[in-house]
Amino acid sequence: MANANNISDLASAAPPASIPRRIEGRDKVRGRARYAGDITSQEMGGVLDVAVAVTSTQASGQVLAIDDAAALKMPGVRLVVSHENAPRLHKIMSLTGAEIGDLLPLQDAKIHYAGQCLALVVADTLEHARAAAAAVEVRYSAPDPQAAFTLAEDGGRTKDVAKVGGGDPGQVKIGEARPAYEKADFQVDMTFLTAPHHHNAMEPGAVVAAWDEDGGLTVQLPTQFSYGEAVILGEAFGFGLKDRLPRLISQVLGGFDFNHKVRVIATLAGGSFGGKTSNVHLLLAPLAAKLTGRPVKLVLTRAQTFSLMPYRGETQQRIRLGADQNGQLQAIIQDAVLAKGTAGQFVEPTSEATVKAYSSPNILVHQQAAALDLNAPGWMRGPGACLGQFALESAMDMLAEKTGLDPLDLRLRNHADVEPDTGKEWSSKSLIQCYQAGAARIGWADRDPRVASMREGGRLIGYGMATAIYPVKQMPAVACVILGADGQAVVQTATQEIGQGMITALTQIAAETLGLELAAVRLEWGDSALPYGGMTVGSMTTLSAGAAIQEAAQQVRQTLLKWVVQDPASPLHGQPADGLRVAQGRLVAPNGASEAVAAAMARHPDGSINEEAITGRTFGHSPYGRSAFGAQFVKVSVDPDTLHIQVERLVGAYAGGRVINPVLVRSQLLGAMVWGLGQALLEESSLDPRTGRWMNTNLAEALVPTNADIANIEAIIIDEDDTRGHPLGVKGLGEIGIVGTSAAIANAIYHATGQRLTSLPMRLDKLLAARLNA
């Protein structure tokens, strides 16, 4: 043991025990938490075959033949599925714009991108399936010489887009930005590039599919939208209307349900970050299982996740800022060109933050997309906003230098007192407090603001800052709350746990509203057989599902109070119902009379109180502008000889309305800032521009931050009351930590070195090139 050590650092104190820890935490630290890839044959009635995917080595052309003769003779092999024998699927609509909305797997011989799934080998064990997959031979036609993989070689593919992201306008025109820019006293004009990079959740894509004797289908997988996946399966495999979009719509509109034959069980996700919804493997495992008539498990290899799962696509943005003598913005112009797939509808909403960040009378956004011969990019943590803010906040730093203003002062002068693109008042906005808290924490005022002026221990030191902003949205959700005869409550809503802490936060909301101990409430989640719980996207889960749970729980409480005061057997009989409190599982009257909820419920004639609520049908439409805000402050050091860049300190201050659980929210904020650091300095999925193949399809070459990359990182949470935005008061803080971080780091590198890096990731080769070109 290490008792002889002298421990020279102290651990920070653990957060107070009064803040609930993750309800599934014990399972996670004991290795009992179950992920889709962990499902064993025992749990599937003794049978679980294993599938391994065979993928294309070519980005275009046709499959001429799939020679599976050798593979089929190998031990344990049950089947090779390819376009030659796969069941025909019906066209589907993807609500999230996923690739499978345009391209169903194993349907024909055409190749759309390198790494496309061409066949599945199903065998009794993983070893057998893997060996046989290696023995499948594919013959290809010649690849298409016109194929294009990067924005630089778009070959006339670039087109204006009407919509980006989840429906934001692709083009925005407020005022007359071009003439205002031309006339402005100060101008900044800079183009920013960002490399593609992948989610690389530690858990690769995984799915288990089983058909039952009555033709029903059950699929278990990590996903951010179990109902959406069920609808896709219902459509693709030709189920009736009850298993298609009408089921989802009827739940949202009426809260009633049909008998359905497709069931999707969202398992715990081992990280998702936007990447685990409507992936192609959702369809692959059921395809194979349909042919074999036996349950099938498919787990992608890490390399396969690069082409069979989405990623953040390449982007180019030109930003022009015009400001008057006082540094007041007169024009913000964003011209973006964004990579998309030839299949899939997703286009990065790079404008999402640009149109809301600063007060400017003139804003012009022009977004274009180019369809490339790659697998489709998709949603990834902080979609659009983190790219737009990298460009805008870098440009703001350049403007600060031109105007001679402190970067923080420039931002204060341009503070948007109302929502810039709508003119609406904000429901709440505590950005100035975020600036103040972050600046104080990092010692912003104490730095030497002159460029390349600071040194410590021979290294160049720089400070940078950026504004973070992330819109608040609410999605429809249905929740059912059942208070049982034992005084324990069950809460049901089919939302998803992807590591953000949903299980704990939603259980807390229910327990608090019902007045029960946390341990007296159990959340049932993730299963499409439960009431509709919406998508787990856009930092919306706590608000969306939480609102429905709160409303249903309030109704249960009302019903309980009304009944108990009328029950002659209760010590609370005859009390005014609205005078009662419920806390820690006890009903308490103003005169001190009280009764345990469990004791009261034991007498309840129905044995339980059930209530259901549907919220968010207007998608959180509000007379106010709603957004979470924050600011990052960064200290970097750069070695003057090797140009090694190290983030020494990363401080973020955030205000996102009510925080249900500060321990979990802090973890999410820190995690998202780690993402921002990775995006800034490390993450790039490299493409071979000749073949369109991802080249660094492993975790040693596709870098993500390691523990050693993360220095002192802090998240400050600013108290904020947003009850006028929504009675629950929650805004959502899952993604804002990545928005702005890369710009703050870029600005700090500039302060340290005088080199402006405009291309992500900012690796030292780019710093060297900037220095040589200076």
């Binding site: 290490a2 050590n5 060996a131 530690m202 780690v674 931050p705 390691t706």
Partner: protein
């Protein structure tokens, strides 16, 4: 015989002590310790993140030392004693590192967590880490895409200082 490689895949007899229980097993030469644990023994607490020794999700203790089990062939470890996450602590008494991970919220999705915890237990036994920076460096073989690193370092540091004051 494997048609593709021409090598024999006939199972070999080995004995492993897994979480304290001795097991006689027949393993194919190509089977990794990770696949043996997960696929055959259904000890699925140990995770697969890359299968290439690049992520640490599969970290277990082999004769007390932390190892990435995806790069260990099971048949090459005849006689070894393996501790997996399932073998650390009980519900009544978590291992101090497990308890610290709970207290410090040193995880989010939990997928890297069994590997992080086994790695941390191995690290503490090695006795090399004395500072936060050393912990960061020596835990860098265990990736956490949720970015729980600050809390992971704190959790390990807290156990290290408890040991110090014992």
């Amino acid at each position: 015989m494997d048609n593709a490689t021409g090598f024999s895949n006939a199972a070999l007899p080995i004995t492993l002590t897994i979480n304290g229980a001795e097991q006689r097993l027949a393993v194919e030469p190509r089977t990794t310790l990770l696949d043996l644990l997960r696929e055959t023994l259904h000890l699925t607490g140990t995770k697969k993140g890359c299968d290439h020794g690049q992520c640490g999700a599969c970290t277990v203790l082999v004769d007390g030392q932390r190892r990435v089990s995806c790069l260990a062939l099971a048949c090459a470890h005849d006689g070894a004693s393996i501790t997996t996450i399932e073998g650390l602590g009980t519900d009544d008494e978590l291992h101090p590192v497990q308890q610290a991970f709970l207290d410090y919220d040193a995880y989010q999705c939990g997928y890297c967590t069994p590997g992080q915890i086994c790695s941390a237990v191995g690290l503490l036994q090695e006795g090399h880490a004395r500072t936060r920076n050393e912990i960061r460096e020596l835990m860098s073989g265990n990736l956490c895409r949720c970015g729980a690193y600050a809390n992971i370092s704190d959790a390990i540091l807290s156990v290290l200082s408890q040991q110090e004051t014992v």
